[in-house]
Symmetry: C2
Subunit: 147 residues, 2 copies
């Protein structure tokens, strides 16, 4: 039941982007540095978010990425879905036809309940919520880390 780095880094990238929105276009390089992720990898992480229209990218000098919607309208469920695919613990929860036992399988019902429990958390949290929590905690990113 582990989240991959796609989901973890991807959500952090969105949060980082939201925190720096006011500075205009944010270069991936900056996000990569602050979030301690390699730039080539971040480029791949951001791809599905751009494809889905959650993030807009601008090429060229002074380019970068920006959020298309306000952070308050970006649910974590949406982001995680794009980054990781379905959070269902087992695929048969989404598509019963994948397993011929589905109709009589009671464990499948439990995995479905787990999915719902997770969805409830992710549906009720937005990037804006993360922004506010971050501002309360302070130290929004690693910027003050100069070794």
């Amino acid at each position: 039941m582990k989240l991959s780095t796609k989901g973890r880094y991807g959500v952090r990238a969105l949060l980082d982007l939201a925190l720096h929105q006011d500075e205009g276009l944010v270069p991936l390089k900056d996000i990569a540095r602050r979030q301690e992720v390699s730039l080539p990898y971040l480029e791949h992480l951001i791809t599905p978010l751009v494809a889905a229209g959650l993030v807009k990218s601008t090429r060229g000098a002074r380019g970068g990425v920006s959020l298309v919607k306000p952070p308050s309208e970006i649910k974590l469920s949406e982001a995680v879905q794009l980054l990781e695919g379905s959070i269902a613990p087992v695929d048969c929860v989404n598509d019963p036809k994948l397993c011929h036992r589905s109709a009589y399988c009671v464990t499948r019902d439990i995995w479905s309940e787990m999915k719902n429990a997770m969805s409830q958390v992710l549906d009720s949290t937005t990037i804006q919520d993360l922004v506010e929590r971050q501002r309360q905690k302070g130290q929004p990113e690693t910027e003050m880390y100069h070794i």
Copy 2:
């Protein structure tokens, strides 16, 4: 966020075992056949359950496995923990020291909430609950599948 076959097959094996408790010791071979899992693989799945004292095994002819506790006292959280390890979406939820960002990381808080949501489902469901659901659904296993 996928459950591995260990968790899925393992919980099904426990349910199968609970459904056939009254027949005395249940050979792994029978569980493997009904649950459509290879016997050598099932042997490995059952190992942590035996080691934890959840399941008792008896070698030799007419041997097999049996539940140590009544099904009503076996929480799914306990079973899944043994089969899969922690359900925390990220390891830093269990051990903040794993990541130097933990203290200021708000995404970690969200993953922690997800873990709690999942735990709530698994803590409140026992193998006995599965047994009862299965009896209501009928067709407890594949026994009536003769092609």
